[in-house]
Point group: C2
Chain length 504, copies 2
Amino acid sequence: MGEVAPALVFAGFMGAGKSSAARSVAAELGVQALDSDHELERELGEPIESWFDRNGEAAFRKREEEVVLRLLERPDLRVLALGGGSLSSERVQEALRRHVVVYLDVETEAAWHRASGGRPLARDRNRFEQLHEERRPLYEELADAWLPAADRATVRLALPAMAAVARTHARPKLLWATAASGDYPVFFGHGLIAGGFFHPDDGRRFVLSDRNVASVHPFGGDWQHAMPAGEQAKTPSQAELVLSAMANAGVTRADLLTAVGGGVVGDIGGFCAAVYQRGIRWVGIPTTLVAQVDSAFGGKTGVDLPEGKNYMGVYHQPTAVIVDPDALATLPPAELGAGYAEVVKTALIAGGRLWARVRRGGEIDDETILGCIQTKLSVVAEDERDGGRRQVLNLGHTIAHAIESATSYSRYRHGEAVALGLLGALRLSERPQLRDEVERLFAGRGLPTRLDGVRPDEILPFLERDKKRTGERVPFVLVDQPGVVTPGNELDPRSVAAALEELA
Amino acid sequence: MGEVAPALVFAGFMGAGKSSAARSVAAELGVQALDSDHELERELGEPIESWFDRNGEAAFRKREEEVVLRLLERPDLRVLALGGGSLSSERVQEALRRHVVVYLDVETEAAWHRASGGRPLARDRNRFEQLHEERRPLYEELADAWLPAADRATVRLALPAMAAVARTHARPKLLWATAASGDYPVFFGHGLIAGGFFHPDDGRRFVLSDRNVASVHPFGGDWQHAMPAGEQAKTPSQAELVLSAMANAGVTRADLLTAVGGGVVGDIGGFCAAVYQRGIRWVGIPTTLVAQVDSAFGGKTGVDLPEGKNYMGVYHQPTAVIVDPDALATLPPAELGAGYAEVVKTALIAGGRLWARVRRGGEIDDETILGCIQTKLSVVAEDERDGGRRQVLNLGHTIAHAIESATSYSRYRHGEAVALGLLGALRLSERPQLRDEVERLFAGRGLPTRLDGVRPDEILPFLERDKKRTGERVPFVLVDQPGVVTPGNELDPRSVAAALEELA
């Protein structure tokens, strides 16, 4: 088993573009791309369609399994396009473990558009859709890397990240983040920090963390800088200290800033990378739950002004994000709880499987974190700059930011303020049952469900200054039901005041 | 004369796309586009080509003049595509004064590609090129607006700016800046500030200036903030003060920051606009020569750190730049002199007509300023982010920035440091004659040509920290001859030290 070097195996539904992706990557690597469907047809001596029609699916799957297993054992295998159905074989699944499975995720609509007609299983639209739904969980389970079934340019861009996965013993999962201003890989895996996994590996590393993080994660880098911990340190003057430290260290535009820590370190680190010499690359290594499920993704960076949270910032997408859930083990329970509020927020936005998993309670496991990351990435991919869809991510945050500003960022952790903000938003959404359910979830994690030490009338002036506001009223994000969330609701100020009163 | 409302008249060489631009703009405005060539063919009752061949150019030009004059007098004229040759008639030139002439500037190569073949004057490549060179100065002289002969999208994007020119009595010149991250109009005209010319006119205006500027230009806006004058005020803490003032004023993402002043106000204003709530629009109104010929264009914004000039900044293109040369009359002579160094730098980069004009000496007139602006815009259009071509704009700035940092931004104005830096760069370029000529030009304007109050060995450590440096050595921009300037020259440190010694 260990004799076969890992190959890149492109899998996915019919019409996902597996053959084209494999050819493109093979050309880039200067190797040969193999294609299990082509090999199969060569052995059958005729097109798959006619053989399948004559002999039926069971016989076909058997022949397919033989051919695929033989391909996967070939010592010269470097790049393979894998026929859509062969993954259902357990022997194939077993053989795939030693390779890097790249799942090309395609929308059913696009897949049907490309595949319908010829192929035996692509002749009936309903059956096609059903099959796609059936197979999707299997692809997701087996995937080492998820890529959007996009153009060849994306596949080529992602090649260094796929190669990094292939050569890393811990075999991290790779997700691909797309945004208008640039794409980047997200690596997810236990032990990545302890194992010293880095990406990209060119340029020197200026490591920014905070004093708590630095004491737990002795992270390697060419230079180190540990800032004070906590949201109160997310200030312009702390950013200036970081920039001066970078300048004195001699960081150049070819180097990287690596931000290891929670949301504060990520926000200030991304900001410093964005403005240092008008912009250098940065890598996010989120170590808190808030950061791993939410704040590390999407490229929003910044620091707070006394007048408002994140009032000084820019969009600057990271070059890579490295998520190691082992880091969560070192967190104090209150910090984990704070992250839970963002998990619930994300699950309410996603609905479906993620919400079903979260409402069951239980530990925050890998699948929950991955589900949150995928939800966030898919929203940002549609709308990087908060022009429309991305605003749903602000669910609960309008009130949360006002609470944080009104308490000078000292009374609540960000996630705790988000818990209160979510309850307020659900009240404004007029969804009392859902609000009660969420309140119980929060109470079970020790999150605040009532305001303490700050009065609603102290919060209201800060609400008025919300960054989303461009007209007379502040727009709120409301929940119709889990999975159906709408931004831009301008509400009667009296309802807003009442929602705050309910929290008092 | 005054009875005819100004129309948009598209002019330019054969193949510049005048008809297509006129149709596109007319469709946008919901009016009819007229085309002088079409009208002419209708009157001639046959194609221009055959009539021209039979009757010769003189007779043709006479008929053309009649038709064009009649069109320009039509009270319903709103949009016109003007035949390439009709501008040589003085009567047409006179009639054009009441309209807005939009000059579509096309490269000879592209024009030949599109126009060659049919038209009488587009049958011989050499004659075609010669004709283009002959007519270019005429187009430029008559133009109210210069647009790149680009796709229709650009023409539509520029429409609000063209409309602003048409309705402004002072009839500013309009240039069009293109950059990877966005295009914007540049308006140039005497009296624009006093006349209260603004663009765009949506959103409220937060006006940033410095205390010197505020005392001379009582500029209208919804809010005002005057910072201390001088490069020493270009600090992160000043930026924070501006941002707090914006927050307290209630500036939203729909509003604009207007930066009225010199390079410092523009750099810090652009930066504050870029980071305020992760980015709002800004308009630059440069009032110094340095800013009008150089720093107001290209979207480089930022503040200085003690460790290095512009070490904290981002790229953020303005939404418009408004240049009023009347503002220069209020400048102290030393400030005008400082700007002259950037004029000489730009002329060395441009070569050709601009260098010929500048080396003659004399007043800095409108054509010199416009020539500098066009040079800078064309460099930035090719390379917004300093990846290659744009680095030539740093001619003289490598040494200049080091001098400024070494003297804590207090000994020299930026332009004065650039004068010294240019002399250093010309020495490094081994162009002694050119260096002497430039030194004489500087001396005639009272610019420093020798270091004073700072030693070369104090400057060298700051040179090492140049932002362009990514490897072992700092890359320099060198001059081969005016118009031929190359970036990225990594030089022997001993030559660099010697060039500094020569300035001592």
